[in-house]
């Protein structure tokens, strides 16, 4: 993975010093909360319902063992002993005191981490595929390009006060685990005409109150042009994006109002002018320098089958279930990708305790070449595990409450913090997720239902990705009572689709039954091994609607 050099180190340290002085000015009363707000927001510090919240960047979701140990240390020393992994592949601490934040940033800097641009109307932390470097069919590791974009976007002097926040996602292959079509800019590495990596660039996707699927405007943009092309998009947006209405300020609204063709024309016109200026954006030597950090780890030559794995599978059924759902094929023979579910039944999606973080850090050092990935679905991934090691790995996870075999099943939800934490929320999300998980806790039933992605947001801002849930649940407030609106058929992958609202909202008491009715309707209609989303796309909304509202 990428390691800081002297320059990266120095810049992060200077940023800590700068923020420490901003905090000191606030604490001394030289800055009012209003004046402090834009400063803290540039560094991931939010004022939530009960306290300040600190969001720490995990660039493209990649963490080393020592970094994870540091996250555990921070949870223990400055917070209440846990952290929350987010859909941006970051981690949030919900209870730090403002006085402590400079010290937290100092601690983070020792392991090459920071909170730069994790909030504010700037280019946010770049997200990527959690299987980067491990997936077969990958054209190139997307983290090379994510890192290049991270550096280019860090303290960009022109694009720090954009109309609204701006999110990038990058994948190294067509199969999409990073929801690139639901980002302001989504980038897919493709093979250029010269056989070298090039980029398909999608613009104007997003969720929030106006969900939209991004448009492909740049086809096979060559590597040397990438930053100039992105600079052109950003400039068109910075100068033309709406600033009169917070809810119409994202680039998706600009793309929608101009039309994708006109947006493409304007970007290409600006790109031509940028290129004409001959600005040296990305020396070839720099691409090679960064690429070298993402070389394959020192894999062993192993047979495809593992006797140890086969023996364990024969012996332990729960482990067998885990391998079925949580383990994915690896591009190297004898290796596997292991996913750690942060969705135990009754838990809070994405939360991990300091002890769990320490354990995962130790396990990855031992079993996965010291690398961990955070997924946008709020789970963790160990990307390079020998098949021989899967059983001891799982046993250690299981003992710490991290061995649930439920990845992508009906109890694996994306859930926003909701009214339990968030100042913007209209309704609670966490308890709804917990109730659904409890209803479907039986593992055989979960495995029988198969892949089914439930995504829950506590308000229209859609942080819980309900627009792209196979089942999406949106909390709304009606005269002081929480209601839950259900949508069906969304998908964040390369088959991207937006979920459709199925009918009137349900009360808190009704919502779990409604989910069960949807599941039963699916099971009755399912043909062969069809997943929920396939059945939904085949039969449409009507049968679900009929069952859901038959007795109303």
């Amino acid at each position: 993975m990428y390691r800081y050099d002297e320059f990266d180190h120095k810049l992060v340290q200077e940023r800590v010093t700068q923020f420490r002085s901003q905090v000191a000015r606030r604490l001394a009363g030289e800055l009012t909360e209003d004046q402090f707000k834009p400063l803290r927001l540039m560094n991931g510090v939010y004022l939530q319902l009960h306290a300040y919240m600190l969001r720490v960047a995990v660039p493209y979701g990649t963490l080393s063992g020592p970094q994870m140990h540091m996250l555990a240390h921070i949870a223990r020393k400055y917070d209440k002993g846990y952290g929350h992994f987010t859909t941006r592949q970051n981690i949030q601490y919900n209870w730090p005191s403002l006085e402590d934040i400079p010290a937290i940033l100092d601690d983070l800097a020792t392991v090459e981490m920071h909170a730069i641009q994790t909030s504010g109307n700037c280019i946010r932390n770049v997200t990527s595929d959690q299987y980067a470097g491990a997936a077969a069919d990958e054209i190139e590791d997307p983290r090379i390009w994510s890192e290049i974009i991270r550096q280019w976007s860090t303290f960009h002097p022109e694009f720090t006060f954009l109309p609204r926040k701006f999110k990038f996602a990058v994948t190294g292959m067509h199969t999409d685990r990073a929801a690139i079509r639901f980002h302001d800019i989504g980038i897919e590495v493709v093979k250029g005409t010269d056989g070298k990596p090039a980029f398909d660039v999608y613009v104007g996707g997003g969720q929030g109150r106006t969900p939209m699927i991004a448009h492909l405007i740049g086809k096979a943009v060559p590597a040397g042009d990438l930053i100039a092309y992105l600079e052109a998009i950003m400039r068109v947006y910075n100068m033309n994006g709406r600033r009169d209405n917070l809810y119409k300020a994202r680039i998706k609204i600009l793309v929608h109002s101009l039309g994708a063709e006109e947006m493409k024309r304007q970007v290409e016109e600006e790109f031509a002018l940028v290129t004409e200026q001959g600005i040296p954006f990305l020396p070839a030597a720099e691409i090679e320098r960064i690429r070298a950090y993402f070389q394959a780890p020192a894999y062993e030559t192993l047979p495809d089958t593992s006797d140890a794995l086969d023996a364990a599978l024969a012996e332990n059924r729960r482990f067998g279930d885990w391998v079925k759902t949580n383990v994915a094929p690896h591009k190297v023979t004898g290796y596997a990708i292991a996913n750690i579910s942060l969705k135990p039944v009754g838990g809070i999606a994405g939360d991990a305790s300091a002890d769990q973080m320490d354990l995962i850090a130790d396990l990855t050092t031992k079993f996965s070449f010291d690398e961990i990935r955070v997924t946008h679905e709020q789970n963790l991934t160990l990307p390079f595990v020998r098949k021989d090691d899967l059983y001891p790995l799982w046993q250690a996870l299981e003992a710490a409450g991290l061995g649930d075999p439920n990845l992508a099943l009906i109890t694996d939800h994306i859930v926003c913090p909701g009214l339990d934490y968030c100042a913007l929320a209209n309704a609670r999300s966490i308890p709804i997720s917990q109730k659904i998980a409890e209803r479907f806790a039986d593992l055989d039933r979960q495995h029988d239902i198969g892949e089914l992605k439930i995504k829950i947001s506590g308000c229209i801002n859609a942080c819980g990705h309900h627009h792209v849930g196979h089942i999406g649940i949106l909390g709304v407030d009606k005269k002081g009572t929480e209601f839950y609106q259900v949508s069906l058929g969304g998908s964040a992958d390369e088959t991207s689709s937006l979920a459709e609202i199925v009918g009137p909202a349900f009360t808190e008491d009704e919502i779990v039954d409604a989910v069960e009715t949807i599941v039963e309707t699916y099971l009755d209609a399912r043909e062969n091994d069809e997943r929920f989303i396939d059945t939904y796309r085949r039969i449409g909304k009507a049968p679900f609607k009929e069952k859901l509202y038959a007795t109303h």
Binding site: K10, F161, N238, M239, Q277
Partner: protein, 165 residues
């Protein structure tokens, strides 16, 4: 308002003239883009220094052909969050080669001066009470940059590959 120009406090030799106001008989004047476009010939006939304000949303394209006649372009930031002026300043300096004064006006905060300078702004209308020490500090909090702009600072990428030569 105090004016910091090229890193020091400077007397403001310019007068901003409203669209309905009479022009002073002598001295440099700054007018809105609207007035510039309406009274361009009269203004050019004055033989005094001329400046134009670009309000947020007004783009340099409108004055590109006149840049050699303008000694000053004021870029207005109506609120700190409105970042259009950063693009305007870069385009003036880097694309159109403008060498006159680019002055930031409006709500510009301590923590924005450095980025503004990187975009080519060389004069700042700052709040009363601002000290030069504060200005210097703001300009020196971050010593390294990742992006090439018209300020000519070598980027981290360039420094890296220079040191490895």
């Amino acid at each position: 308002m105090p004016l910091i120009k090229n890193g020091s406090f400077a007397d403001d030799e310019w007068v901003s003239v409203g669209d309905e106001d009479d022009l002073p008989s002598e001295g440099g004047v700054i007018v809105s883009l609207t007035r510039w476009l309406a009274e361009r010939d009269t203004l050019l006939g004055r033989n005094t220094p001329l400046g134009v304000t670009l309000a947020a949303g007004e783009v340099p394209d409108a004055i590109v052909t006149d840049l050699d006649r303008l000694q000053l372009v004021a870029v207005q930031f109506p609120i700190y969050k409105d970042g259009r002026g950063y693009s305007s300043a870069r385009l003036l300096r880097e694309r159109h080669g403008y060498e006159g004064e680019i002055r930031a006006t409006g709500e510009i905060l301590y923590d924005q001066w450095f980025a503004m300078a990187r975009c080519g702004i060389d004069a700042f209308e700052v709040a009363e009470g601002t000290t030069l020490a504060a200005f210097d500090a703001a300009m020196n909090e971050l010593s390294l940059v990742y992006q090439r702009t018209g300020d000519g600072r070598p980027t981290v990428m360039e420094l890296r590959h220079k040191s490895s030569d």
